[in-house]
Point group: C2
Chain length 311, copies 2
């Protein structure tokens, strides 16, 4: 138990991580550009980490023992090639340096499955492993996350900071950005409209955001170092997920599989969860069926104007 | 011809690059923590690029068309694992972003042959090629240079900035840090002492610093993008170089080959200069014999208290 500085704490994953860290007894200090009114933490700090000097000031002020750095450019659809990925690498270097300087002992930063090479013709059971699978990212976002992860891992070993990078697979659930797969299908169908999606042959490791937050909290409390996958180890095609969401919404009639073109020729992006299970001791609470049920319920209550306050 | 911002301009390589850029007709703005009294440039600017906000301020003030970013931690022996490598990645991100923002069109940053994997058992004619040779750096310095190079290359393509990273091999010559191979052997022997070195079986691509500076200037004026080796393409063992220096100093008697232990089991680090020659159009002026002759002459005049002012 320690004092944890969480950046990106008001975001989709940050919100879940803050709840999980508090449940584990940590003193949680959330950092966000705008302090959110509806997320409980021990303290909130308003800061734009891209402002020169801001990362160093926050770290020096708080003198946290633990750091969970989730802030990054995340605008849906745009973050893959957002030039601001460069500035986030710079801000991340400044933050980690100042955190170590201020006496911090354990840091986890968010990475992504986009750091791996996505094989267009994988075997049907292929999983991506931290130690063995190639990481030649196809995007600026993946390149920036990979560059910062490799750099920080080597640097941290030199300064004696315990460090891990969480490679997040595909979180979904409450508070997700509405343009993404699960919310877009659920909201269209729940509102009585149609939901056009691609043929959806690509396979992904979808992880409920509460499990994602809980895994991050467990990883921060562990001594696992280097890259650690955050996923379920189970793959599902986009078509399967869309169909399950449509069924849960009671609107299988409105789903239009194949109505949108896809540039993905059937990649499979599924986590090897060996490190998460064995070294962190984390097992997800949700399987895909229960997770999607929870998510569709949440979007239903959102649509009915009843914002849930479960955290 | 344009307005060139040169960082690290008072350093060993920077000094030679400033001279070469001026010879090509550029308006050269040198940046250094302390403005040097003995290097001519069109203007000098004192700045510590590790201070938050400093890179952005310099770039916004100067609105240069070209950037040659050489500043980095370079303290002899210590830079390999200096924790400040992290801060230099952050400062580099901030500088490049602000340079592009201010309308800059062409940037070259210094990288290193330390970004390559150094094979302990290479073939006798092996060269390291930008496109084909693996780059898994063994040090924090190499990791930081490699991470920033990959990141900047991808980012620059997205924002339309012409970008290259110069992978410097082993510069030697006037103004070199006295603890390094050529100066340490030359100075000891010229002063009448002994020069203990290792067995010196490792092979390196030694490039005269004037050629290094001229190659950087030519690279900045070219459109070559991505990683470009800066070397001669010719390897020489450390023993050969030390012996040549001893001979030029007239003191072969003082050389103690094998007196120091070496942790290097005979690596060979020699540049493939195909890109430098064909895409940049650069060929070195010095071969090793003429370059070492020049260097030993310079150290001789230094030792006699006659500082040369050749630039």
């Amino acid at each position: 138990v320690g004092r944890v500085l969480v950046t990106g704490a008001s975001g989709f994953v940050g919100r879940a991580a803050v709840a999980a860290l508090r449940a584990r007894g940590h003193e949680v200090h959330g950092v966000a550009r705008t302090v959110p009114a509806d997320i409980e933490a021990d303290a909130w700090h308003a800061a734009d980490l891209l402002r020169p000097g801001a990362p160093a000031a926050i770290a020096a002020d708080l003198r946290a023992s633990h750091l969970l750095h989730l802030a990054w450019t995340t605008a849906h659809g745009r973050f893959w090639s957002d030039p601001a990925n460069l500035a986030w690498v710079g801000a991340t270097c400044a933050l980690l340096e100042a955190f170590a300087e201020a006496g911090g002992s354990r840091a986890v930063v968010s990475g992504s499955c986009a750091q791996y090479t996505w094989d267009p013709a994988p075997s049907a059971s292929a999983v991506l492993a931290e130690a063995g699978s190639p990481r030649i990212p196809a995007t600026l976002y993946g390149t920036a996350k990979q560059a910062s992860g490799e750099l920080l891992e080597t640097w941290a070993a030199g300064v004696g900071l315990s460090f891990a990078q969480a490679l997040l697979f595909f979180p979904y659930g409450p508070y997700e950005e509405p343009g993404r797969l699960v919310p877009s299908v659920a909201r269209s169908l729940l509102a009585g409209g149609e939901a056009p999606v691609s043929a959806g042959t690509q396979v992904r490791d979808f992880v409920h955001v509460e499990d994602c937050g809980a895994a991050l909290a467990a990883l921060l409390d562990s001594e696992a170092s280097g890259a650690v996958n955050i996923g379920t180890g189970v793959g599902a095609s986009v078509a399967e997920v869309a169909t399950a969401v449509a069924r849960l919404a009671g609107r299988e009639d409105g789903l239009r599989l194949g109505a949108l073109a896809s540039s993905d020729g059937g990649t499979r992006v599924v986590a090897d969860v060996g490190r998460l299970r064995d070294e962190v001791g984390f097992v997800p609470r949700h399987d895909l069926a229960s997770g999607l049920c929870d998510a569709v319920d949440w979007w239903r209550s959102e649509g009915a104007g009843q914002r849930t306050r479960r955290r």
